[in-house]
């Protein structure tokens, strides 16, 4: 996937929200969608079950208009978090320019977080992408829950962030931290451009 096309003067970024089931990936997208002005609003595609579990993936196209002469488009995807949908996750990860790992801050979900993170690494590797070159940020979601139920950002950082990635505390349901996360990953993805090599490096 071409990140920046100088011929058509387009920038297209594919950002995938990854994480364990029920960590709040779709909620992130829904909040972003709710904040987009009506004239820029595209169609958010969500394939969910009756109990609002993501079946395949969510897709939110964001048309940011012309920036520095480039028509800039962001495509936000989520993957189904449930373990048995790994094939779909791999498919959605294909061609991703950046990944947001949405971790569930609840103490009892720590193992699921770790498992999903390992699953992310494995799937990225299967696509032949060097994880060290792929822009990746961590979001510690559900920080609005009672403190006794959740781990603090430093604790989560200690447990999950062994690569020293940018982290964001968030409450996707009400909004805090959602756009900070999106800004963080967007900046990382775009900054890759200045380093040359077209962004993500294949192994």
């Amino acid at each position: 996937m071409s990140l920046v096309n100088f011929t058509t003067r387009e920038i297209t970024c594919k950002i995938v929200y990854y994480g364990p089931g029920r960590s709040g990936k779709t909620t992130n997208l829904q909040y972003v969608y709710s904040q987009v002005p009506s004239d820029r609003k595209g169609q958010m595609v969500s394939l969910a079950t009756q109990t609002d579990r993501t079946l395949f993936f969510d897709f939110l196209p964001l048309d940011l208009g012309t920036i520095s002469g480039f028509t800039t488009k962001f495509q936000l995807y989520t993957v189904p978090g449930q373990v048995y949908y790994n094939a779909t996750r791999k498919l959605v990860l294909q061609g991703a320019d950046g990944v947001v790992f949405v971790a569930d801050s609840q103490m009892r979900q720590l193992d699921e977080n770790l498992e999903s993170l390992q699953n992310l690494h494995a799937n990225i590797l299967e696509h032949g992408v060097d994880i060290r070159t792929l822009p990746l940020v961590l979001q510690f979601n559900k920080q609005d829950l009672p403190p006794e139920l959740i781990l603090t950002p430093p604790e989560l950082d200690e447990a999950l962030n062994f690569r020293g990635l940018p982290t964001f505390a968030a409450d996707a349901l009400h909004g805090p931290g959602v756009f900070e996360t999106l800004k963080g990953i967007a900046a990382d993805v775009l900054r890759k451009l200045s380093e040359g090599g077209g962004g993500v490096r294949r192994l």
Binding site: F6, F179, L193
Partner: protein, 650 residues
Amino acid sequence: MDLNPRFRFETFVVGAGTQTAAAAARAVAESPGATYNPLFIYGKSGLGKTHLLQAIGFLALERQPSLRTEYLTLEELVERYNASVAAGQLDAFRRSAQETDLLLLDDVQFLAEHLEMQAELLRLAEAMQAVGRQVVLTCDRPPGEIGELDERLVTCLSGGLLVDVAAPDFETRLAILRRKADERGVQIPPAVLETVAEIGAANVRELIGMINRLIAYQGVSDVPITPDGARMLLTGEVPEAPAAAPFAPAPAPAPPPPDEFSAFLSAVSTTVAQTVEAWRSRVGEAVLRWQGEGYRTRRLEQLLLGDDIPDVTAELARFGADVEELRRLAEEVAAFDPAAAGHACFRDPDALEEARSYAERVKEGVTPPPPPSRGLDFNGYVEGAANEGAVRAAKAVCADPGRHFNPLFIAGPSGTGKTHLLHAVGNALLAARPGTTVACLSAQVFTEELVAALDAGRIEWWRRRYRRADVLLLDDIQLLAGRDRTQEELFNLFNAFADAGRQLGFTADKIPAQLAGLAPRLTTRFEAGLVVELTAPDRPMRAEMVRRLLAARGVAAEDEVVQYLAARPADSARAVQGLVNRALSRMDPASEALTVETARLAIEGRPPRPSQAHAVSATVPSGLDAALGSREKVVWDWPNVGDRLIEELR
């Protein structure tokens, strides 16, 4: 008309629409008459045609200061033409026009309105092309679309290279704006320049007009201009954002707290500007810088056109290293042969391999010595009794070089055609045996090259260079008188050539035995070959010369005129040419034919009067010319002595 110093290649921003035109223009400027002749640049107004045209003039003059360059618009050419017709100086006009080495003619679309000029331009363009002089024209449309244009002129103008210039794209517009702002020494925020570039001016003049307006407004305003302000100022469009004032007010009011999406958008915009555009700018600036230094930047321009983002730092470093190597090679080459250092391959990092092998060849002395002049061949050489033997010998040499007459020594007074014959031999040998190296130069240049080689301590290289030649033809050998070192080198070269059975040819104003100041070991060797003499052209030869000279000028003349001119005393081809020129100078510009009366008026300086004297002059046999010396100095009309006496008596 003088060239505008602002219009140079260094200040021309090359975009996708002007790439071909700029490359062709540069090629023409680097070697006028050799590549695309004529070069016809067309495109809508304000896209840089005049800029390119004048840039050709500047670069060509920089490289060859002695080049006769003329830049003028079609209207100016028409004015000059009309003035010359009115003053009866059409011939002078034609002569001066045809002697221009590089003619730059702007805005030829107005030719449709000047039918007589079309014929004149056709004549001029053909005459200039015939002798390898360059014509470059600009127009707002291709030749075929200029209404009422003579078909022959369309063919002539289309015969070289037709190249169009198109409107600048976004990047080119941005680059032009940046350069203009830099030229004016004005700081304009990049975002404002981008906004102006986005407005999409139809041509460069409009774009420059826009930036002039910005600069003017900024000059009277204390606050910096904003992108929205610039848009409103230039297009009258009110931007989507609520800020309606063209300029940010000095104490900026606190903006309303932005919603999260706007803040995100703004953050992305900043990042894109810092990354994507920064990358583009780096390559763009490198392109401008290297182009400014005269290097071809095709490789970098390709990067900008590609879909993928390259490793910019590595690409720029590679390009810089290649340029550095080209510089080093050019410097090395310059030490051997300054002219060779100007070779185009030293300006093209993509031609590094070629530059390396070329430099290697130069260092080994493989670059050939000066070749014969292309225009001097046997076709243009008038044969007759005065040069019969010499021409026969020269042709025998061409048929079998190095065998029969080696060396061939052509002796004769100045202007009898020695140089022409020598170069004709060189050209015939080149034509018959492509790939042969023929060194054909004057003894003066030969000496100068030797002195330069001695000065630079590369005498061995100089010797190798000449020893690699297959034929050595030296003109005006008498100029070596007293130059012992050159004679010694020539002696060695002579022996090397003679031993290897390679052809040698010399010319001098006297036969070898009469040449003073030349070592006997040389003169005796010259005599060992074949010495042929050229004498002053006889009347039939002069008649033929006159015929050819008149035909070359496109002037019709009766045989009577030809015979009259041929009968004038002239001891050389140059003298005949002088006579023809004088005769033509008095010709009526409106008439196509030269009459005897005009010729006589021009040469003898008095109106023709029917008199016995003229009758006598017409019957004077040609053989008497030499005895009479100059016909003009003979008094043919003696005053009546009786009248004179009566006058004095009174």
